[in-house]
Amino acid sequence: MATTELPTRTNAGFKPSRLWTDERYRGVLSQVVVVVLVALALVWVGGNTQNNLENRGLELGFGFLADPAGIGIGVSLIEYDSQDTWLRAMTVGLLNTLLVSAMGIVSATLFGFAAGIMRLLPNWLISRMVATWVELTRNVPLLLQIIFWWSILLSLPTVRETLHIGDSVFLNNSGITAPAPIFEAGSNVVVAAFVLGLVGAWAVLRWARARQAATGARMPAGWIALAVVIGLPLAAYFAAGQPIGWDAPVANRFGRLRGGFTVTPELVALWFALTTYTGAFISEIVRAGILSVSLGQTEAAGTLGLSGWQTTRLIVVPQALRVIIPPLTSQFLNLTKNSSLALAVGFQDFVGIGSQAQNQTGQAIEIVFSWMIVYVSLSLLTSAFMNWYNARIALVER
């Protein structure tokens, strides 16, 4: 805000009353008062904390992180057993938070874009159905939805009466079991080929664009890139003697499943609820973004002779993305923070394991402190990445 520079300002004849009548002194005075009050409050809180901790016989410090945790963890991305330390348990929790957030961000984005586009289709029935679904999920608390889907999954048949979807996907109240890929010796060749394919596709696209810019000649670069990405690993797969197989789950006499991999109902409920809830918000953002591109742009593209698909890809989407990206960032941040509701269904993420640690060790201040550090850093990292992406696609004004 602009401040008015007064033509003459003299400090001559300072009187105490100028402390609150002169704008300059008043500003300094009010800041000093606020800072002193905040500092006093902090000192007071610190003193109380010290007293209370002494009375309870607790000591501040992160020493407890080296003690054995003694808790079981259902879903873990790294090796863990209950004799491991709290540090390792918290790491498992952090990885679980990252897992759920990453899964949720990918699926909610896909779901949200699909729903947002479906609402704009010239089909009354479809857009009404999607609108109803969006309003229903947006206006009901996420925690309620997570517990709702969890209850539904838990009321599925028991292990003995497992439901089959096709031959290899099984559904019961202890989770969803599906075939797992087995990586035998030589499979790293296929993975390497896949990475090579990605790099190759990127190079092809880049070269094709440079060539078109230089000579005007066009080529079906998209198809070539796709062929490289799929073809290279496929060739490597057969050349290495088909090293990747499937481990299909098999039910024994009592219905107990062996093999495959199982996703617990907790994770499925959490993931599904996060996807539909955040997806509903994203669909509104996408819809608003597409509607913000004026009709004149589409008409101008038509007069240039661009086809419908070309108009969408080259004219509408790049302009819509500029409107979509900033609010999308805050939805991703919300999803990451909302993944902490995993606590309600007993999926052990960073908050879940932290609260267990707090229960068992009593080190509440340290736990809450580490929550804050981790979530604030995650937020900062996500927004840094999205700001970078946003700056890339933003309108360059000259």
Partner: protein
């Protein structure tokens, strides 16, 4: 007049004819909106098929094969929903463990909300001026009714529960977070560096963490931070934390509005000789609040939905009641999702009305397109 066969003359106007039947009326509507192309027709058929699968089986589950009578879960048949608990549990869903026979106090507080809100929400309410005084007094009246004291029996806040607890936390948060959010936003845009710094730290720290960690702070840490002799009511601690949380979001909404106001408005206010607070109150904030309505209401809706999180620190809001019903000996295995569906209706009604109201208000206050 020639008789040339290649010319035809028309002496009088032809009678008007109606447009082709296929472009008007229900048929035309169907063609335009559902069957405009082959792709569209296929989508329509797919959607109809989905509806045909889902809707009848849902109605069948929820009503036709559902059981409405009985006092324990085993009296419910297996194939439909079990609503038999409604009769004995509805009071808990609404009032939690509030003292029996004192429900009228909660009801009265909710009914008084109507005259308190009406002059704030709608134009042309009779006696609006007097009612606004009542609006200001309402929080105190409602608090007195709910907690008791003087002539009324005291009801401990730990027996607050059900939807009434959600309403209490939500409304307190809404009333408090708007002014605090405005102050934080002004602090963040202030030219006094210390105020600006403190506001930024508060806003970013609170917005960076999940609400649940703040609720744990309220439940576990705040007692450690306070002198041992103080015991602040858990409900008050929760309201403080929920308010702090949504104030930070509110501050960002208001800041967005402040940034959208052209610099000329600030300068014009100064040119008229208005001081900082006068120009804010008379010139800037009215414009800011108007353009921020969607964001403000969205924050309110988010806050109201977030009141369910208190269930995670052991308070029995409507979600906590639904969960305890699900785990109750009498109903376990028979009531799975029914309690949550019932609770969802309340939130949907409140949140959906709020969002509709905000859309209406936006249209009413939009002075640009007339």
């Amino acid at each position: 007049m020639t008789t040339d066969p290649y010319f035809r003359t028309q002496a009088e106007m032809l009678a008007e004819r109606p447009p082709p039947a296929s472009t008007t009326g229900p048929v035309g509507w169907l063609r335009a909106n559902l069957f405009s192309s082959w792709f569209n027709a296929a989508l329509t058929l797919l959607a109809l098929y989905l509806l045909w699968i889902i809707v009848p089986s849902l109605i069948d589950w929820a009503f036709i094969h559902a059981d409405f009578e009985g006092s324990v879960g085993n009296e419910c048949a297996a194939e439909g929903a079990c609503w038999a608990w409604l009769d004995q549990r509805i009071d808990q869903f609404l009032y939690g463990f509030y003292t029996d026979g004192e429900y009228w106090r909660v009801n009265l507080a909710v009914i008084l909300l109507i005259p308190a809100l009406a002059p704030l929400l709608f134009d042309g309410v009779p006696y609006a001026r007097q009612l606004r005084v009542f609006s200001v007094a309402y929080p105190f009246i409602a608090g007195f009714l709910l907690v008791g004291g003087f002539a009324l029996d005291a009801v401990p806040t730990r027996s607050f529960g059900g939807f009434m607890l959600n309403l209490t936390i939500g409304l307190s948060g809404i009333v408090l977070s708007l002014p605090i959010g405005i102050m934080l936003a002004l602090g963040r845009r202030s030219r006094l560096p210390a105020l600006r710094m403190l506001s930024v730290i508060f806003i970013e720290l609170v917005r960076g963490v999940p609400l649940i960690t703040l609720l744990f702070t309220a439940a576990i840490l705040l007692p450690i931070f306070m002198p041992e002799s103080w015991s602040i009511d858990l409900l008050i601690r929760v309201i403080v934390v929920v308010t702090a949380f949504s104030s930070a979001y509110m501050a960002e909404v208001i800041r967005g509005g402040l940034q959208a106001i052209p610099k000329g408005q600030f300068e014009a206010a100064q040119a008229m000789g208005l001081g900082y607070w006068q120009s804010m109150r008379l010139i800037i904030l009215p414009q800011v609040l108007k353009i921020s309505i969607p964001g403000i209401v969205n924050t309110f809706i988010g806050l109201f939905k977030d009141t369910t999180l208190v269930f995670l620190i052991g308070l029995f809001d409507i979600l906590g009641i639904a969960r305890s019903l699900q785990q109750n000996q009498d109903w376990i295995g028979k009531v799975d999702a029914e309690g949550f569906l019932f609770a969802a209706i309340f939130f949907f009604v409140v949140c959906f009305s709020m969002s509709r109201y905000s859309i209406n208000l936006e249209k009413r206050l939009d002075t640009t397109k007339r």
